[in-house]
């Protein structure tokens, strides 16, 4: 069985990506970064998801991106609430964390190369997403190109591949796919601004996109159940 590294945040998309990697016959090594995010509770969700779906190894790296700040997720900036589609589409939101996915994929690359693995899985999504530049296919292509000149393995001709199986799927289809693969979405956490007990706000972009997708499927979101 071929190994791979899966970036696992603990959210809906990365949980589904882990299930896809398994479906595709990979033995997944999961990597979670505790980066000082406002919603640090997602790290515990990542641990639950990894245990539930099964991984070869789960690494949780600590990296304090609040030292840089510049995002509502890592700084004293308010998380936008109750935004409609138009507002969400208007601009890259303040929840964008500078170069976050570049840092995360770099760490996944380091992990993969150290373990002799060549396949990286990341749950980015360019359809029902939040306008983040580092969730687009052109970003993934540029990273793959970089990986192959940056590493010993790449120089020796063993290509790295970045898999983003959700990149072109609407959120509804991601959930449908995950359910068919046995993902338990009650274990996941997506909210950017949970309360002190870790409960989702149901009003940030991340909650709203997810709530609507479950609604479109005629289901209640098992992680965002009312009251």
């Amino acid at each position: 069985m071929k190994g791979c590294v899966v970036l696992l945040s603990g959210g809906l998309d990365s949980a589904t990506t882990l299930a896809v990697a398994r479906r595709d016959g990979f033995a997944p090594h999961a990597l979670t970064v505790a980066y000082g995010q406002r919603h640090a509770v997602e790290v515990r969700a990542a641990e639950r998801v990894a245990a539930s779906l099964g991984v070869v190894e789960h690494k949780v790296l600590h990296l304090d991106l609040t030292a840089f700040g510049g995002s509502a997720l890592t700084d004293a900036i308010e998380v936008p609430k109750d935004r409609d589609d138009e507002a969400m589409a208007a601009e890259i939101p303040v929840t964008y964390v500078p170069a976050r996915n570049t840092v995360f994929l770099s760490l996944a690359l380091a992990y993969a190369e150290a373990r002799g693995l060549r396949d990286l899985f990341v749950g980015v999504n360019a359809v029902d997403y939040s306008g983040y530049p580092d969730c687009r296919p052109e970003f993934l292509e540029a990273f793959e190109r970089l990986a192959n000149v940056a590493t010993k393995a790449g120089v020796l001709g063993e290509s790295f591949r970045v898999h983003a199986p959700l990149v072109h799927l609407p959120k509804k289809e991601i959930i449908r796919l995950g359910l068919s693969l046995g993902v338990d979405y009650s274990l996941t956490h997506s909210c950017y601004d949970p309360d002190e007990r870790g409960r989702p706000c149901r009003r940030c972009d991340s909650c709203l996109i997810r709530l609507r997708a479950f609604e479109e499927l005629g289901m209640a979101d098992p992680a965002l159940a009312d009251g």
Copy 2:
């Protein structure tokens, strides 16, 4: 004055790079990564160098790359000693840390974007170096391309630039340049395998390359003075 981010390891090359950034009129923000390196003593050298040359801000980030291992600098692998030119040139050495400069440049990019800066300085060198893939111009070009699709600033048309002023210089010329800019090399640390008191081994590739360059200049290496 335009700001920039300088990756500062505490070694000879990064100290020189910081001096070049200042010479070129930049107000430098220094970034050091304490990554669990065998020669963690270099982090203190980075602090001395930053204080000596002057920076706007110096961030030291902690990131435990020993969780991945796979290098003589982050794992229980012996650092090669007493290698001649032929041995050094024969292959990428075990002191290569998987994807390290990709991770470091990604962090520099995150720092720069969070501070509204667009210029990154890195002291990589492709002449008297150790055969690392992530010290070559093609790596730097691929990273620059990535930076401009990965970030909000890039998408908005504000290009990032990766400066590697030493990339084509032999070590001797790097030292000559640094001396002309007032770099105090006694403050720097390059050795991969210092003893428990932080004293350089004088036998690893990094020590040997540096010792020879000073010798070629008819000088004693101020950081590697004989016992």
